[in-house]
Amino acid sequence: MPDLTLTGLAKSFGANTVLHDLDLHVEDGELFTLLGPSGCGKSTTLWSIAGLHSPDSGRIAFGDRVVFDGARVDVPPEKRNCGVVFQSYAVWPHLTVLDNVAYPLKLRKVPRRDRARRVEEVLELVELGGLEDRYPHELSGGQQQRVALARALAHPPDLLLLDEPFSNLDAKLRERARDWLRILQQRIGVTTVFVTHDQDEALSMSDRIMVMDGGRVRQVGSPEEIYHEPADEFVADFIGTVNVLGAHVPAGADRSQVWVEGLGQPLAVSPAAPAEGDVRLAIRPERIVVHPSGAPAATPNAVTVKVRSQAFLGDHYRYVVALGDHELVVRTLSRIDHGTELTVELPPEAIRTYAAQA
């Protein structure tokens, strides 16, 4: 399977620029996720790869094959050999499962016997064997999604492009479908670009994730890097739950000590704050250690706080506590009553600091 390279890709719709000089490289056999809020340009990127949008400039190559290069090369979608699964699945309602899956093979004039064998093979792969003669309206949402996937894999494609394929499934089915799809992708080893705005899907399925915002790349990395070492406040806030606090580093002071508004003591941070002046701190709730009966004496960043609200979430309790002028969300397995004072520890290495946006 070829790798995928996007160089300087730009796209505008009228005055609205949706992609700003996007560079991207997806390794052979990798499952690469484009993650971001609605309107960040992730679907535009995917559609540009598929040939359904023509970018204004830039270059797209599948391995050594250039499929788009400014005004010079623009290979139409039917000649790019991508398998695409649309958000709506786009399973043709007037064709049976068999005919849907056989369609790309018929177009490629695959002999009847080979075609039947390949259709059977991909339907077995997506666990839809025996449903060949059903029409889409006789299938569940999950089965329709598998038909769309089988059709995308039938030819077989150089690249598999998935445009939010789980968004129409219920929560339980979505969880099962993503595990199943990840195993399938690893088994067939097809280079895959996956678009989603669901961070759980992105974290659980991807080899690497690219977080996008406003048509720009915020960060590219493994799920662990994206979650534990977010490059900026946007990524920290978009992925998972995070406490973001305003803080200050006095001019000329040690940048590994920051002052949170309303808190009478500085907090140690590691690594040090990137700049003096106003900064933003981000810390994940699960990284905050709760000491209901007080922390040991030498514990760094141990702060006494009062519980403002609590919620039982089945496998843990979620508390909102007051820290200086801010509210802090913490998680713990212990039950603590409303109004109780307790000590929370904010490990310096769990705190990320970012320069405050002007």
Binding site: E78, A90, W92, P104, L107
Partner: protein, 182 residues
């Protein structure tokens, strides 16, 4: 023309959507006169003006808006993803239209054709400047007969028109009335 106007990358597709409505916006007589002069200027041999093809073309263009307004809502109801899925599966634009969008809109096309037939059958205005002795048009002939107070012949033509309409409806239902799975 609807699929070109709404499902293609044709550069002038926006103008095409409006252009399909123009022949209906002007009086039928003006439309007929426009075709008359177009044939005179563009076809010096006069083969098209005096033929049924010339008449058919004028009637088709005149009634384009009716066909478009009957067909377009059905086309709009067919998700764009369906033909884009065909494109990414390997079909060119025309093939994706034929095998997916137009295939799914067969019932709407049938309705559109029946409506066009009924409309053309009753239409007379565009033919005023185009008919010859060899290509009389039923609607215009009925008007001429009515003007000379030949009521019986007009009534007979009316019955023929009704029978033709019923026959076309029956044929349409027989061949194109199948339900598409949705």
């Amino acid at each position: 023309m609807s699929v070109v106007a709404h499902r293609s990358d044709f550069r002038l597709r926006g103008s095409l959507q409006q252009a399909m409505l123009w022949p209906r916006m002007m009086p039928g007589l003006v439309c007929g006169m426009a075709f008359f002069w177009a044939f005179v200027l563009l076809d010096p041999t006069d083969t098209l003006r005096g033929s049924l093809w010339g008449l058919g073309l004028a009637f088709a263009v005149r009634n384009l808006a009716i066909g478009y307004s009957a067909f377009y809502p059905a086309l709009a109801a067919i998700g764009r993803d369906l033909d884009l899925a065909a494109r990414t599966s390997g079909a060119g634009w025309w093939r994706s239209m034929i095998s997916i969008s137009l295939r799914l809109s067969i019932p709407a096309m049938a309705t559109c054709f029946v409506l066009l037939f009924v409309s053309m059958l009753n239409d007379a205005d565009p033919a005023v400047f185009l008919v010859t002795d060899e290509t009389p048009v039923m609607g215009l002939t009925m008007l001429q007969l009515a003007a000379t107070s030949t009521g019986g012949a007009v009534a007979a033509f009316g019955v023929i028109q009704m029978l033709l309409t019923v026959a076309v409806l029956a044929i349409g239902r027989l061949f194109l009335g199948k339900r598409i799975h949705a």
